[in-house]
């Protein structure tokens, strides 16, 4: 177990360094955008005078590098500063948004992961049958369509034609959990459709790969029923690649949802990021991007740890 803890520690250290590099890149990319935050705030109403006054108020008269270092000084003590545009704490500004995104991701994951793995096992079991073909074609079609298109199709049928679910997923604070689940079902379903194919295909491929192994042959010769061969003998050895794919898709559920948020008007973090980029609101952009980056780093780490735990051989690399 000790070696795993060592690995986790080492990876977390590297992760922090990556976050630092990312924050530098993001800062200078926001700086490179044409126009500054004062111009973005005042729009067509900008004049020399009020631009100068606003820049002074926002502290934009300081050199870029100083502003970055000031932000970094706060960030190492976990103080991500205030939004330049609204003056509010970044944490209050995006905290609720991030929780919303996590909720939607969790909702989609709870449906998508078991569905994909069960489907994967089933198609491996029934490979080359009609069921296998239909499941493959259906999931590949859904992954090949852009999310907003899938969203529109779902809206057309589920809300406009059949009236089963609301077309927009705007939230209010006094919603009960069943209401919430009902209101956010269509965006969750869209995400499920997008991520299922990848996980299902990987499960299928990993299992089929193993089916040629001698120990599977042995199991079959013993007279074990086919479903048991797959679930009890093949699946445990196939976990490593499956966990990797699941982790990647979970990261996607958090970082890649901006189109789904726009189509369903869901108040998640993706929309907050787009808004703050258009206003050049650097502290908010920075916080959103770092959340995304940290999500990727942590989920990848979790995938590696998971793979090692399910496959003892990986614990002793030669």
């Amino acid at each position: 177990m000790g070696d795993i803890l060592g690995l986790v520690g080492k990876r977390l250290g590297i992760g922090l360094f990556i976050l630092l590099v990312i924050s530098v890149i993001i800062f200078f990319m926001v700086e490179l955008l044409p126009g500054d935050i004062a111009q973005a705030v005042l729009g067509q109403g900008a004049t020399e005078e009020n631009l100068a006054a606003l820049r002074k108020e926002m502290g934009l008269d300081k050199p870029a590098i100083i502003r970055y270092l000031e932000w970094l000084g706060g960030a190492v003590t976990l103080d991500f500063g205030n939004s330049i545009v609204t003056g509010e704490r970044v944490t209050t500004l995006i905290g609720q948004r991030f929780m919303n995104t996590l909720f939607l991701a969790a909702y989609a994951a709870v449906i998508a992961v078991p569905l994909a793995i069960v489907l994967g096992v089933l198609v491996a079991l029934l490979r080359y049958t009609v069921f296998d073909r239909v499941a493959n074609v259906a999931t590949l079609t859904s992954i090949s369509s852009p999310e907003f298109f899938l969203g529109y199709i779902l809206i057309l049928y589920f809300s406009v034609n059949w009236g089963m679910f609301p077309a927009i997923a705007s939230l209010s604070q006094d919603m009960t959990l069943p209401e919430l689940l009902h209101r956010t079902f269509l965006p969750a379903l869209t995400l499920v459709l997008v991520v299922t194919a990848h996980m299902m295909r990987m499960t299928r491929a990993a299992i089929i790969n193993l089916l040629a192994s001698p120990y599977i042959e042995m199991a079959r010769l013993k007279g074990t029923p086919p479903w048991k061969v797959i679930v009890k003998h093949a699946l445990p050895n196939a976990w490593a690649p499956i966990i990797n794919v699941v982790a990647l898709n979970l990261a996607y559920l958090i970082t890649g949802v901006v189109l789904v948020e726009v189509v369903f008007v869901y108040p998640g973090i993706g929309q907050a990021l787009v808004d703050s980029v258009s206003k050049r609101d650097f502290p908010v952009v920075q916080a959103c991007c770092l959340i995304f980056a940290a999500t990727f780093i942590l989920l990848n780490l979790a995938a590696d740890v998971g793979a090692i735990l399910t496959n003892p051989r990986l614990r002793h690399p030669k």
Partner: protein, 536 residues
């Protein structure tokens, strides 16, 4: 027309009036066309069209253009969803009524000195903030001063640059002193930046609290997402029929229209014109198509060849088939432009200036006179100017070929269009928001020394009239001056105006409104929440 047919037409008109489908003006026009006298038509209008509003319900409005970075600071209001929100929870000194006239809000009456330099506004005793405090003259002074002075960050600073002093008279009235006369000052007070907020003890403005003295009180605020409000029972004006209002930001046009179709919201702003005919088929939805004072302009720089020749400029204006552009680009949701920046939705509009028609032969003749046959010019345009901007230029280029003019359409990036192309390139396409009066518009973009004089047009007589009209308190004289200025801009100016786009928005059938809709902003001057009601 036979008698029976006339009667059927009148009955249909009366129905339409009752349902609020036609404005009073068009009702009168149609009725008289159907053979009614003016007095009979007026009588019919008053008996048929007055459906009494009923109170109650939660009005859910889906508004476009919202951003997480929006704030309560009146100086930096910029997005459209905020404009909808402010008119729902804050008030102004004056307001634009549904019929386009100027009406009282926090100010009950106003008067000017004969030179229009000193204006006094009497305030409404009944106006209260949502916190319960009375609206005092001190609050109003602070609200206006927020946009003045060296350290002001307000986008509306330029509008008040001529103000010398604003004082609290101590008798619940304020006096504004100007450097030069401005007869339009009460109109200017309707600008969405000049919202009335409570003052702090030191005279600065307390906008941060989100307090206001408008028809509804803010309960929940999530910028760029959703706002919920309840009626302010002590509001000083008539209306506010809904018990509650929820404004949801719906940036995606498809999400907006779907939400309306499925009944998730009761009304939405800004329809996608390309799908208008599809939405019209839905029996549960009513579309409001309101001529506005917004405009599309194509300014040609009068100091740059070939546009330094007035014959060339007029040839360019004659080479456009505006009717075809309105049909194909705006799907008939626009008012035809006539090359002077004064829309029929603005006060003092001169209705006797002849419409400029498509006349390629005349354009050819003018070019020959100018010695510029077979002219080749380039126009720059970006997709973001308005939906269909590039298509409009391509269509115009085709139309202009008949006059022997070769127009190259150069499509440039949307990002930075207004900082890199507008005011810099000799010819481009621009969208202007609605301004309340011709003076505001002309002073902003046609005055010889205006920073935004986009066509660099210099005309002595025009500028002389502009100054005279600005301080003229006699409405008839003013109207005559604006007529002459319109003629000058049309025949000498450098700005081609293809059309004034309409405001096109929609509501569920159970949402009712009065016979007319204000043309200052979408949703009845952004006051749908306080002016509209649910069918009883």
């Amino acid at each position: 027309m036979t008698k029976i047919k006339d009667q059927m037409l009148i009955d249909r008109l009366a129905d339409a009036a009752r349902e609020g489908k036609v404005s009073r003006r068009s009702f009168m026009n149609y009725s008289m066309a159907a053979g009614l006298t003016a007095s009979a038509a007026t009588g019919l209008w008053t008996t048929q069209a007055k459906a009494a509003p009923s109170r109650g319900g939660t009005f859910r409005l889906g508004a476009h253009d919202g951003n997480t970075g929006d704030t309560h600071d009146p100086g930096t209001y910029v997005t459209f969803s905020m404009i909808q929100l402010i008119h729902t929870f804050r008030s102004y000194l004056t307001l634009i009524e549904s019929d386009g006239s100027l009406g009282p809000d926090v100010a009950t009456e106003w008067s000017a000195s004969p030179d229009a330099k000193v204006w006094t506004f009497k305030l409404n005793d009944r106006a209260t903030f949502h916190s319960g405090a009375k609206v005092t003259a001190n609050d109003v002074v602070a609200s206006l001063n927020h946009h003045r002075g060296e350290s002001s960050t307000s986008a509306a600073k330029a509008l008040l640059s001529d103000v010398v002093d604003i004082v609290d008279n101590g008798d619940h009235s304020i006096t504004v002193t100007l450097g030069s006369g401005n007869a339009d000052l009460p109109w200017l007070m309707t600008d969405y930046h000049f919202a009335i907020c409570p003052a702090n003890d030191d005279g600065s403005l307390n906008w941060q609290s989100g307090d206001g003295c408008g028809p509804y009180r803010l309960v929940e605020t999530e910028f760029g997402v959703q706002y919920s409000l309840v009626r302010h029972d002590d509001w000083h004006l008539e209306g506010a029929y809904f018990d509650e209002v929820v404004i949801t930001v719906l940036n995606d046009p498809n999400a907006r229209q779907t939400a309306l179709v499925t009944g998730d919201v009761d009304a939405i702003t800004q329809l996608e014109l390309k799908t208008l005919s599809l939405l019209q088929r839905d029996p549960n939805i009513e579309i409001d198509n309101v001529p506005s004072a917004a405009a599309i302009t194509m300014p040609m720089m009068c100091d740059t060849a070939p546009f330094d020749n007035v014959d060339v400029r007029n040839a360019m204006k004659l080479a456009m088939n505006r009717q075809e552009i309105i049909e194909k680009i705006t799907f008939n949701t626009a008012t035809m432009g006539n090359d002077f920046h004064h829309s029929p939705a603005m006060p003092y509009w001169p209705d006797d200036i002849p419409q400029r028609e498509y006349d390629p032969d005349e354009a050819k003749a003018l070019l020959a006179k100018a010695g510029a046959e077979g002219l080749s010019v380039e126009i720059k345009v970006a997709d973001s100017v308005f939906s269909g901007a590039v298509d409009m230029c391509i269509l115009y280029a085709e139309q202009a070929k008949a006059a022997g003019i070769n127009i190259t359409v150069n499509r440039v990036p949307s990002d930075g269009y207004y900082s890199d192309v507008w005011l810099k390139d000799p010819w481009c396409v621009v969208q202007w928001g609605a301004r309340p009066t011709p003076d505001v518009m002309y002073s902003l973009a046609y005055k010889d020394d205006a920073a935004w004089n986009e066509s660099r047009w210099q005309n002595e007589r025009f500028n002389e009239l502009l100054l005279q009209a600005k301080s003229e308190l006699d409405n008839d004289k003013r109207a005559e001056m604006y007529r002459e200025m319109g003629m000058l801009a049309r025949d000498d100016g450098g700005t081609l105006i293809p059309f004034f786009p309409n405001f096109v928005y929609a509501r569920r059938k159970n949402v009712q409104h009065g016979p007319e809709l204000a043309a200052s902003w979408q949703m009845d001057g952004a006051r749908a929440a306080s002016r509209w009601w649910f069918e009883g």
